[in-house]
Symmetry: C2
Subunit: 262 residues, 2 copies
């Protein structure tokens, strides 16, 4: 109902080619070259504290890993000896109740740090949604570096703080928002996060299924689907395919995110 977005025809979407996992081919990242020096998302991670000539310190502790879609990285409660830096792909982080109900606590994207939430054992399970590459470190090795590179611990503390702020936003969402507010907030938040590591994106590619979104927002698949349809009908978004969202009217979407339909 207004015009912040005047782009009528969404040109090319982020992963128009489903054969190639998002971004992994486009950017020369850690795993392409095997060197931290060419990592395009280093500035987003705790590795960003190292000067180019210091990278060797972290590089020799790093172990590159890849995951297929559906593969589990670690499981809730299991010994948490490793931490990870996402370089490519999407991971779902979730907790289960004994009867199988699932709550997704977050989606990890490139640049995200994984494994912070661990008191004794990981606080959640982590599962690849698509093809994922990441850097693995022994938790021990990282904390051993804190002495020589205190800036690294500062960075980690700020990562933890940011996650905490996000977790509290999510509590507000889960406890008090209506479905349309939940879905709108989710789309806006995802768009913002994608922009962190990919400025060229013109739309949002939903790597996760409707079931994942439902379990993230405390809804059912059906309600998520119905809400997408509603947002589409209202002109807030466009759904070229079920996994490709273009925000048509972000003002309207923001309105939905904060106050529902009124």
């Amino acid at each position: 109902m207004n015009g912040k977005h005047t782009t009528t025809a969404p040109t090319v979407l982020v992963t128009a080619n489903p054969a190639r996992p998002a971004l992994c081919g486009d950017h020369s990242q850690t795993h392409e070259s095997g060197h931290c020096s060419s990592c395009s998302i280093r500035h987003l991670t705790i590795c960003g504290v190292f000067k180019p000539d210091e990278l060797v310190h972290i590089e020799k502790l790093m172990h590159a890993r890849e995951l297929e879609a559906g593969q589990r990285l670690f499981e809730e409660g299991h010994g948490a000896d490793f931490v990870y830096n996402m370089t490519c792909g999407t991971i779902r982080l979730y907790k289960l109740l004994p009867d199988g109900r699932r709550q997704i606590t977050g989606f990890a994207l490139p640049g995200d740090f994984l494994g912070l939430a661990a008191r004794q054992g990981y606080a959640y399970s982590a599962e690849a949604i698509n093809h994922v590459t990441l850097c693995r470190f022994k938790r021990r090795d990282i904390s051993d570096l804190f002495g020589r590179f205190p800036e690294m611990e500062h960075r980690l503390l700020s990562v933890a703080t940011d996650e905490l702020v996000a977790a509290q936003d999510q509590m507000l969402l889960l406890g008090r928002k209506t479905p349309i507010e939940k879905v709108s907030s989710f789309l806006l938040g995802l768009q913002k996060r994608i922009a962190r590591f990919n400025q060229r994106a013109t739309g949002i590619t939903l790597e996760m299924t409707r079931a994942d979104i439902a379990d993230y927002l405390g809804l059912t698949v059906e309600t998520v689907s119905r809400t997408f349809s509603k947002l589409k009908k209202q002109g807030a978004i466009e759904l070229a395919r079920s996994d490709e969202v273009v925000i048509r009217n972000s003002t309207l979407l923001e309105q939905f995110a904060e106050e529902g339909e009124r």
Copy 2:
């Protein structure tokens, strides 16, 4: 319906005397003496890293504060120059939606660290529920100490990690648990936290109102009240007064917390 708890008559409850705020008179804490050396909950906080002869470093940065019930400590979004250590009382931490809906993200109890969640400005508002005493520090002063006392930053990181784990548990609760599971989890969690700083407690004194509990669990006042009644009728808890809970059958309560009524 079983007997883990055989105590039939709950002897004396924690705050039987409502004239005296919980614990503040019983323990000699910071504000009684004005000295960190006599602080009974120091071991729970970041101050626990200091040896007795080092306490002077933190003590000269500390500013004691008191709050009346209902008084606000800080507001969401406002400049977050200070951090706090709770020494006595209960504080509600909450976020609001534009139309007034409220989500309580947590209750701060003695020993808790306040003000971590702040990117730009506090991530939530904080309001005293009863009479509160706390230690205030300039955020700046604390991080200046990190260089000399790296153990302090480790501790803060672990506080942040613990909060993160708790936040994720709360997401599971808000997104996927039923009212009876929510209320049961809440009671068990609160009991555990109270035990951290008061081992003598035989019951749970609910300093917060039903409305607070509702806004913490993503429910309405009425549903919370009905659920308490149900737990009482089922023999899981006892409600001598509306703000004094005794867990009669913790096995049953744990069962309710995990799987509802089946």
